[in-house]
């Protein structure tokens, strides 16, 4: 009896872990649009880590990057969103998004201190690609306005998370933690880059 349980239990656990949740009711209208917009940046790990890395790097760079970033990033990202809505293609979007995680993670890990215009230009290029990916989903969403509100809010909150994490730079130990986090983000960026280039195909 006991051995049978021991044999079947791992199978049950693995089966439970691998299953996807079944959503019997698709969200529609404002709620559906808002939910899909909020979840779009959060469920794509490559988007999520890149946005957090932008916030952390901004905190590392200090003023004016730390306060210019949350004000201008959504607008620049919206330019990419416009390209996505208008179905204007960008070259290798998945590869560039993966590269954004890799490069921003590296910048955090090695405490790269670029002049502000150069740092802003790097972030702006990546923002356009991330915005393009989100914007391409907008016309097909349940409610486009609610979707736009959701994904802009989620992106802004991810930046805030990054800036909050970045405040750890005030302490030497915290700086080490952040650099380790940057290395982790860069590692994940490498993985997504390899995936984007078809290494796992």
């Amino acid at each position: 009896m006991c051995s049978r349980i021991l044999r079947t239990l791992p199978t049950a656990i693995v089966a439970l872990a691998l299953t996807q949740p079944a959503f019997a009711h698709d969200q529609v209208g404002v709620a559906g649009g808002l939910l899909s917009g909020l979840l779009h940046p959060a469920t794509g790990i490559d988007h999520l880590i890149a946005m957090v890395a932008v916030g952390i790097w901004g905190a590392q760079l200090g003023a004016p990057a730390i306060w210019v970033l949350p004000i201008t990033f959504p607008l620049v990202m919206a330019v990419g969103g416009v390209l996505g809505v208008l179905r204007i293609p960008l070259p290798m979007p998945e590869v560039v998004i993966a590269m954004s995680a890799l490069i921003l993670g590296l910048a955090v890990a090695i405490r790269l201190r670029l002049p502000f215009p150069a740092a802003a230009a790097v972030v702006a290029v990546f923002a356009i690609f991330h915005g393009h990916a989100h914007g391409a989903e907008l016309p097909g969403s349940a409610n486009p306005l609610a979707y736009g509100v959701g994904f802009v809010t989620a992106t802004g909150l991810l930046h805030l998370c990054g800036i909050a994490i970045g405040t750890l730079t005030r302490w030497p130990a915290g700086e080490r933690v952040i650099q380790g986090l940057g290395a982790g983000i860069a590692g994940l960026g490498c993985y997504f880059l390899a995936q984007g280039l078809g290494a796992f195909a």
Partner: protein
């Protein structure tokens, strides 16, 4: 004594005169007032645009923003009247452009003059007033609907403005976290407006 009798007669008359009390005044035609007051909250565009307008007015300070207490409801009434005569003049592009303008002004922390602020508020309110009045049923009491809409506009703009004025930093420090938070909100609003404008053009 005479006064005592007179009071008695008045009390008896008051008891006899009133008709049945209607606890639910929606059934007594006042429902159109509530329809006007609630109608804008059923549309996300109204919620976002009205709130953004209140934040912009509040970010400019109470001395400039207080004009909107009068201008915004009047704009809604004007839009409702104009919309009835000429049909709804609003569209996705007009609303998105308004969002973009308000968002950019907030993000840039632009100190616009009171006249321009009032003109933007009146234009926005007129657009949304016309949009709100566009799908009224023929038997709707337009006066009650307009009163409800104006009350809702007054309440939302005044409350949002007051909250923003309270949230603003007391000293004129452009790098205080409150000032940056308001400007970041402006960046978010402008981003939504820009994308919705492109969506309106594409569709």
């Amino acid at each position: 004594m005479t006064l005592k009798y007179a009071r008695g007669w008045i009390a008896a008359a008051l008891l006899l005169l009133p008709s049945a009390a209607d606890a639910h005044i929606i059934a007594a035609r006042l429902g159109d007032f509530y329809m006007g007051a609630l109608h804008p909250f059923t549309d996300l565009q109204d919620v976002i645009l009205w709130t953004a307008m209140g934040v912009l007015a509040g970010s400019l300070g109470a001395s400039k923003g207080r004009w909107l207490i009068l201008v915004f409801p009047l704009g809604l009434l004007a839009g409702l009247a104009v919309g009835r005569m000429f049909g709804p003049v609003t569209g996705g592009l007009a609303d998105a452009s308004m969002l973009l303008v308000i968002g950019v002004l907030l993000a840039a922390a632009a100190r616009i003059p009171t006249v321009l602020l009032c003109a933007i508020a009146f234009g926005l309110a007129a657009l949304r007033g016309a949009a709100n009045g566009s799908d009224l049923a023929p038997d709707t009491d337009r006066l009650l609907f307009a009163a409800g809409l104006a009350c809702a506009g007054y309440t939302v703009v005044t409350l949002t403005m007051a909250l923003t004025v309270m949230f603003r930093p007391t000293a004129a420090d452009p790098t205080s976290w409150q000032a940056i938070a308001v400007r970041a909100l402006g960046g978010w609003i402008a981003a939504i407006g820009l994308m919705m404008a492109s969506f309106a053009l594409a569709s």
